[in-house]
């Protein structure tokens, strides 16, 4: 664990996440018969938001909310092996860091809930309620998929799982396809793109928990969001797609993964809250169960 490496990891995650966001806007625009913004538009937006003056005072928790999200994103990033055996991107890892990761990844939304609760904006409150109930929806198949892996390979460390794939050469997405599909379907909900963008649904809640956050708050949320997107993508790549030995492969794999929620989101309206939970407790949960059974008996 050297500081320089950690900073490099963070900057890489920030840059990749932001660029993916910009590319997403571009792709969406092309589907909508538009030219679309440049792919670096998100960087401009982020810098503009940072340079805005912020005069919103809602109390301490409101200030801490975005910080919580940032902390959770960065900490979970620190536990992800970005590349396989590379001294430049070190990671804090110990036996059972996967379990710790499951916890720390839901830490951000909880912080968001604390922050949004204090703004006193009813839209924020409703949005947080929706977000937490949706999280209940997609966390269950997600955790089941991970448990299936842990049971199947008798290890709870990400690097352990990664090494098994690297040495055997078999990706887990083929070894245990049910776990993979459960994880992918659950990750649709994690990305919060349509049809699962019920938390900040603009036409319903006026951007939900973010309604009272402008300027620097929004900058922190935006950047932590992009870091978190990188975390999710890299985690799935590490767990199911055999990691990446260099940056090119990493980018290719993560971008392909990223296209799944994006393309699904372009053409689908928004679910209602209970409908989205029903969705996650349908096929994803089923796949999760099959995955565990498969892991136990085969």
């Amino acid at each position: 664990m050297n500081i320089l490496g950690a900073v490099t990891t963070f900057l890489l995650a920030f840059a990749v996440g932001m660029t993916y966001g910009g590319l997403r806007r571009k792709i969406v625009a092309r589907v909508q018969n538009r030219y679309g913004p440049p792919f670096y538009q998100n960087f401009i937006d982020a810098f503009k938001l940072y340079s805005k003056s912020t005069a919103i005072h809602h109390g301490a928790m409101h200030f801490l909310g975005p910080a919580f999200i940032m902390v959770s994103s960065v900490v979970s990033l620190m536990f992800i092996p970005v590349l396989t055996n590379n001294q430049w991107f070190p990671n804090l890892n110990f036996q059972g860091d996967l379990i710790f990761l499951i916890y720390i990844m839901v830490f951000g939304p909880l912080g968001m809930a604390l922050g949004a609760g204090q703004t006193g904006n009813p839209n924020s409150a409703i949005g947080v309620t929706r977000g937490l109930s949706q999280m209940v929806g997609f966390e269950i198949p997600w955790v089941m998929a991970l448990i299936a892996l842990m049971v199947q390979y008798k290890t709870t460390s990400i690097t352990g799982l990664l090494d098994i794939q690297v040495q055997s050469g078999h990706w887990f997405m083929f070894e245990n396809p049910f776990a993979f599909s459960a994880a992918i379907l659950a990750s649709l909900g994690m990305f919060r793109y349509s049809p699962f963008d019920i938390v900040g649904a603009p036409t319903e809640l006026a951007s939900g928990p973010m309604s009272e956050n402008g300027g620097k708050f929004l900058f922190v949320m935006m950047s932590s969001g992009s870091v978190f997107a990188f975390v999710k993508l890299t985690l799935i790549v590490d767990l199911f797609m055999g990691g990446a030995s260099n940056l090119i492969i990493l980018v290719i794999k993560t971008f392909l993964l990223y296209m799944i929620p994006v393309t699904y989101g372009i053409v689908s309206p928004r679910y209602r809250t209970e409908q989205s939970i029903t969705y996650f407790w349908g096929w994803p949960l089923f796949f999760g169960l099959i995955a565990i059974i498969y892991a136990v008996f085969f």
């Binding site: 969406v28 409703i126 963008d197 036409t203 319903e204 309206p269 928004r270 679910y271 209602r272 409908q275």
Partner: protein
């Protein structure tokens, strides 16, 4: 002590989901609405006061501003009311051109509805597509009238001018293009399982009480009652044209969506017929000099079928050069106030915007 369970949630006036500039005050318990109240008046420009200071032709420039998304039916109503008052007989070709303009306006407004319905449910691609295609209709309007939105074209005594050269072919080309695009809309919107899940059984209007509530247009047809001013008391040349009036019995957002889906195709059909059998001739009759135009005492009430339903214009004259009273009846005047307040009870917060769109809410025509 007992805690108040219901919280107050203000939708609008500044809200991405609101249609136009109005406000709905909701009493919410959890995600369910237990009370709703419409608050309008943010767009009140006092047209009906201003026309008292303008003569018959000047006040006609106000008419198209009554409802922004679809100005032409209002112009049509005013023009016909004034013609009834002054017994002006307009030439045949003018009537056909009026029908063409009205149907084009209906198509453009229905495309806006596609956008609104998709946008209110989070399907932003629908809005981008249909509003983009709406520009082609507005191009036709620009060719014909010279303006995109407010084309003061249908005026007492006929229409302002005849077709420009090659206009008919442009219209037909646009219609062909539009019909191709409508298939894409079907694939994106109507065959979308999530859209069906979100709309079926939502925004239910009680079919027993619709007529007593003064419900008109697609909402009425969506609850199984076949009623259309173009059929019931035909104006201009609608009795010479062949078209169907679709009805559905679901009486929810999905049923209204299906009704509008058929309506836009019927409008294309009507436009094709108009282009086919429009007669040659004059497009306006001579009306007196606007400065000296006096109309004998009396009153008239003209109705037109707009996208949101029947709109009516009451014009009363006191024998002077200025109207004594011009009073506009918009469909949203009923839909967005008494009906909306009733329909919203028991619905989910997520559906407010969709319900408002499917009821055809148009704030400017409520306050005028």
């Amino acid at each position: 002590m007992k805690r108040e369970k219901a919280t107050t949630l203000y939708i609008g006036p500044q809200h991405p989901g609101i249609t136009g500039n109005m406000m709905v005050r909701l009493k919410v318990e959890g995600d369910t609405i237990v009370g709703a109240r419409t608050e309008v008046g943010y767009l009140h420009r006092a047209f009906e006061k201003l026309v008292e200071r303008r003569n018959w032709v000047q006040s006609f420039t106000m008419m198209c501003r009554f409802c922004v998304p679809e100005p032409d039916p209002v112009e049509e109503s005013y023009a016909r009311a004034v013609e009834m008052l002054d017994n002006i007989e307009i030439p045949e070709r003018a009537k056909w051109i009026r029908v063409l303009v009205l149907e084009l306006a209906r198509i453009s407004s229905l495309l806006l509805w596609h956008a609104g319905q998709g946008h209110s449910l989070g399907l932003y691609t629908m809005g981008q597509w249909s509003v983009g295609d709406r520009n082609y209709i507005l191009d036709l309007f620009e060719d014909l009238t010279g303006a995109r939105i407010y084309h003061m074209f249908i005026w007492p005594g006929g229409v302002r001018r005849d077709f420009p050269k090659g206009f008919e072919d442009k219209v037909l080309k646009t219609m062909d293009y539009l019909e191709k695009r409508l298939e894409d809309y079907d694939n994106l919107l109507f065959e979308n399982s999530i859209f069906q899940k979100r709309t079926q059984g939502v925004g239910y209007v009680n079919p027993e009480k619709v007529i007593e509530h003064g419900v008109v247009g697609p909402v009425l047809r969506g609850s199984g009652i076949k009623s259309d001013i173009r059929i019931d008391d035909p104006y201009e040349v609608y009795d010479k044209l062949k078209f169907e009036v679709p009805t559905q019995t679901g009486s929810d957002i999905w049923a209204r969506a299906l009704v509008r889906r058929v309506e836009i195709r019927q409008s294309i059909r009507i436009i094709r017929q108009v282009i086919e059998k429009i007669p040659k001739g004059d497009v306006y009759t001579k009306v007196p000099n606007p400065q000296k135009w006096k109309i004998a005492r009396g009153d008239a009430f003209a109705r037109t079928e707009s996208v949101r339903g029947e709109v009516g214009m009451y014009v009363a004259s006191d024998g002077g050069a200025k109207p004594r009273r011009v009073h506009f009846r918009g469909a949203a005047y009923v839909h967005a106030v008494t009906l909306l307040e009733e329909v919203l009870i028991g619905q989910n917060i997520a559906d407010v915007s969709a319900i408002m769109n499917s009821l055809g809410t148009c704030p400017p025509e409520i306050e005028r």
